[in-house]
Symmetry: none
Subunit: 182 residues, 4 copies
DNA sequence: ACCCTCGGGACTACCCGTTCTT
DNA sequence: AAGAACGGGTAGTCCCGAGGGT
């Protein structure tokens, strides 16, 4: 149910996704939503964002173990994201970006969930960089730049229905990180 | 009217923005909208996106004239965007991103408008880089990276209600561009 | 609710009858309607037509039991219809004719409901005639003629706000049937 | 313009026919309607009904000259009506019936136009019968019955998308009239 | 005690027939 | 003669509680 709603929110955003659509996708009857989520749609979205964010962060941590350095890990993560983009016909970009943009200003609950999600990703990236020898301050800066680049690439790729921005940004990040840390 | 709707779409996205809200903001009666925009909300949004994109592109071109090099121009543009972000209490980020994410998959009209808008920005940035001595290919790559970074920074800054991502990305871009082209 | 809408559809037709008018007449809020009639106005009208048709057919069958022959039964039915016409100030003619004319071409659902309703009436009339000794073929023909005459009489009487066409057609049908079957 | 609107009113009725649809069909700009028809849609419909009624009455008179007796003339007229029904894919039945049912109760103007139209047809039929030797009173009665039968047949045929009711009623009327007047 | 059918309005985008103003 | 403006109206769908059924 959270999974189903997370997918829909990712593809359509908060306001474009109706509760009935979620119920249908989750094969759940309409009435029981407010039993499990007394906060209604808002709470549901917030929890879906949190869960989706955790999954991405886990992917980041897994890539960190699989790759020898930050450049490699970032490359892996971007390849996965690119794959999700194409396999969903460019409907599945960042799991939080759409909701963050179209709901986080009006719902503190959702806003907080998105903020925490982004922070957890940035922290994971920063940890990667520190492992490569970056200083605390440099890691903070660079992780923000890396995260922003990826988010922007996802936005551009989704809008253009073309993976080119993902590839270009991926290569740029890999080469930049490699140059700085080896 | 286009201005009013562009502002609302920028802040809330496509689906969260009601026609009545637009009418109210534009001091226009309900009935007149479908005379000027027979295509309804979709056409209105598409034209609003196009206009907003043109304005940003004009800002880019103006910055290109005001600054001696690409690094300077990008710095100016990001400062302006940061200013808009704070002066709107973090409701006004990229004028197209929210709509691009929550509507461009379901409306080809809006999708095309956003695609053209992003392309016009990327082209303007690429032109800047070529003026600094970049080759065609390098300019294409780098302009995508720059645009993606800015978009991601806007997303993060808006979500966090904090200009830090803007400043960090701005400084990173300026230093990167300066290093490569001087 | 079906009753209320049937009355309104009978008096005003499909397009002239607003959902809000139906809600008001049925003392039901709009949200409930789409729970019971997911197909909206179209489904509501189709079911209202079916119910109204059944009621008339029941009246036909009741008249068949009350009267010794077809002529008598038709006479009774037309008297009842004439009574409804006057008691409703000529707003209530045939419960299906108006909707059949102004909606059945654009809605297959409504069209089918009306078609079935008319058929059930014709069948009931044909059964009457066969009871009087008519052959199958003759009953089919004559029942169509009888039904058409009644429908036309209702149309003329309603338009003229005058029961004369009803009386004239009634007397004609009674005398014709009497002459042929006794 | 009157022709275009008459066709649309015939096929769809009064309320289902939009002014813009009429304007489009008549290649006329929307604003100038109220110059020619200050009474708006109501007046337009009333005049369209009058014109359409006149045309049918002219057809009736022409058939009266072409055929030797009433039975022949009615046969001709019904054949023409049946042809219009099929050639319009059962959208064009009686030019007034739909409007008479869905608008004449709420508009005295339209009601009067329809009443006059029906009366002119009945008068033409009565004249036919008198020519065949019927008395005044019998002609009045029978003309009502004939008109009602035709109207009902048109209704049934249109609803069923089948010319059978037209043929059956036609044959019945021809045989009845022949039997009575020769 | 948990589930969920059922019911409730406010709101949506859209379009209507009409009337200004030019 | 007509382009533009007007606001009330359309059907439809939204997210959400409250009461009946298991």
């Amino acid at each position: 149910m959270l999974d189903a709603s997370a997918d829909l929110f990712r593809a359509q955003g908060y306001h474009a996704t109706g509760l009935s659509q979620i119920m249908e996708a989750g094969r759940a009857p309409k009435g029981s939503l407010y039993f499990h989520f007394p906060g209604g749609k808002e709470q549901l979205a917030a929890e879906a964002m949190t869960e989706a964010a955790d999954r991405v962060r886990d992917g980041l941590l897994a890539a960190a173990e699989a790759a020898p350095d930050a450049a490699g890990a970032i490359g892996i993560v971007m390849d996965v994201l690119t794959g999700e983009l194409t396999s969903s016909e460019f409907r599945g970009g960042c799991p939080m970006a759409t909701v963050a943009l179209d709901a986080s200003t009006e719902s503190e609950l959702i806003g907080t969930a998105c903020r925490r999600g982004f922070d957890s990703w940035r922290d994971a990236i920063a940890t990667l960089l520190i492992r490569d020898g970056a200083g605390r301050e440099r890691a903070d800066e660079l992780s923000t730049v890396v995260l922003a680049s990826i988010e922007g690439a996802l936005l551009l790729a989704r809008t253009h229905r073309d993976t080119a921005p993902m590839r270009v940004v991926r290569d740029h990040l890999v080469s930049t990180l490699t140059k700085e840390f080896s």
